[in-house]
Symmetry: C2
Subunit: 224 residues, 2 copies
DNA sequence: ATAAAAATACGTCATTTATCCTATTTACCT
DNA sequence: AGGTAAATAGGATAAATGACGTATTTTTAT
């Protein structure tokens, strides 16, 4: 974690409506801008965090380490959102949070302003709202995991993580994110290529039949 | 849903410390006691709920219906806890909530006191806390689902749902709760019996080797 | 710029985990 | 006692894993 001494960036972020939904100006003097590098640990499993983070830009990964040594990726967070709110409420958390890309955050020193924010109706309301969003997302991932084979979940991952028609993510990352073995992922990727849904060139995949992926992803919707 | 006209019960519940963590006496005039029968729907998928419920006693099931028609049980709730808080914050929810046993609740008419409770710091704080608990539970179920075969999760289910050494839950319920097919569940139950961990007598199972189950369950713990 | 080293990709095969389907038997209820 | 729900059983199939070996790509060092 590196402190960013760029007052303009700090003001730009803290003046945004998104940020002000959560934090009033009472907390400004306990806040400063920080940056995490890809791979850097933001919240360490089992430990209390000194800071509550407002993730402005970048992506993070929430994971748990099981007794069998396996790392399970629970969720992927994209800015803007909060990080460390579980630790704020509960003092510790069974999850790790790691930066995937470079992450720009506002770090709020909760050691010094815990009472202020935990008595702020607006903050608490928006915290509830963001917690509900996280819970719904996790629950849907669980539902998908139970109900659908990898091909469906992979289709969603590809659409969510492609730039235009270009898809290039390391397969080790994909398999961890989707909670399946590397081997099995490769098998299904190959199936998509064989069926003409994707085209492969060296390590890069190109979406050639977006409609096929769309159809798979649509199956994931909940009934309503 | 049946209204309970028992003032003593109402007072008994609303005077408890657990209840008062969430609700101040300002909301008392919008609250009344209700009862749900086993199997009855509490929150209907996709619809806004008129009430926020404080589940005092009984057990409920949270489920989602997927596009492929499959019902996935996301969570099981035991009193005391809140039900309908997602709908309170978000206006609708992709989940169904159904009573498993007879459930006694306090129903709070949020149509009439939404503003009061959503401006109550104490309510919001405890709501956050309960949302964090739910999120953690769901995330752990997801982690278990990804990392461990049925045998491990079943061991936990058996220990969680047995009375002493007696375990007697309908296999249809178990398989739905654990998100696996009936057929596969049966196979693994048979395996536990064959290995001498359980003993079967007609429709009732008895735990004969608790240590074996304990060992399986211990594998499920997260590293910390 | 090139060669060596490391990481990633990928095919094959054996095995485990889980599903689907259908038929039959057993328990439960009133 | 008869109807319904639950439990049992088996065969075929699919989904996912694991191990092993090899090829390709990327990174690092020279």
């Amino acid at each position: 974690m590196k402190t960013i001494k760029n007052d303009r960036l700090f003001r730009q972020i803290t003046c945004s409506q998104q940020y002000r939904q959560f934090f009033s100006d009472k907390t400004d003097r306990f806040a400063h801008a920080v940056r995490f590098s890809p791979g850097e640990n933001v919240i360490f499993l089992g430990e209390k965090s000194e800071y509550l983070y407002y993730l402005y830009s970048g992506r993070c990964q929430v994971s748990a380490i099981m007794e069998n040594g396996r790392t399970v990726i629970i969720n992927t967070l994209s800015g803007p959102c909060l990080i460390g709110e579980i630790e704020l409420i509960k003092n510790d958390s069974p999850f790790n949070v790691d930066a995937l890309t470079e992450c720009t955050c506002i770090a709020i020193d909760t050691g010094k302003c815990r009472d202020i924010i935990l008595n702020d109706v607006s903050f608490l309301y928006h915290l509830c709202s963001s917690l509900v969003d996280k819970e719904r997302k996790t629950a849907l991932v669980l539902a998908h995991h139970i109900s659908f084979p990898l091909e469906y979940r992979l289709a969603k991952f590809i659409l969510d993580n492609s730039n235009g028609d270009v898809f290039r993510i390391k397969k080790t990352v994909i398999s961890e994110s989707l909670g399946v073995s590397y081997r099995h992922l490769e098998k299904i990727m190959k199936k998509l290529v064989d069926e003409g849904t994707l085209r492969k060139e060296k390590l890069t995949y190109y979406i050639t039949r977006r409609d096929v992926l769309d159809k798979l992803v649509n199956s994931l919707n909940v009934f309503s």
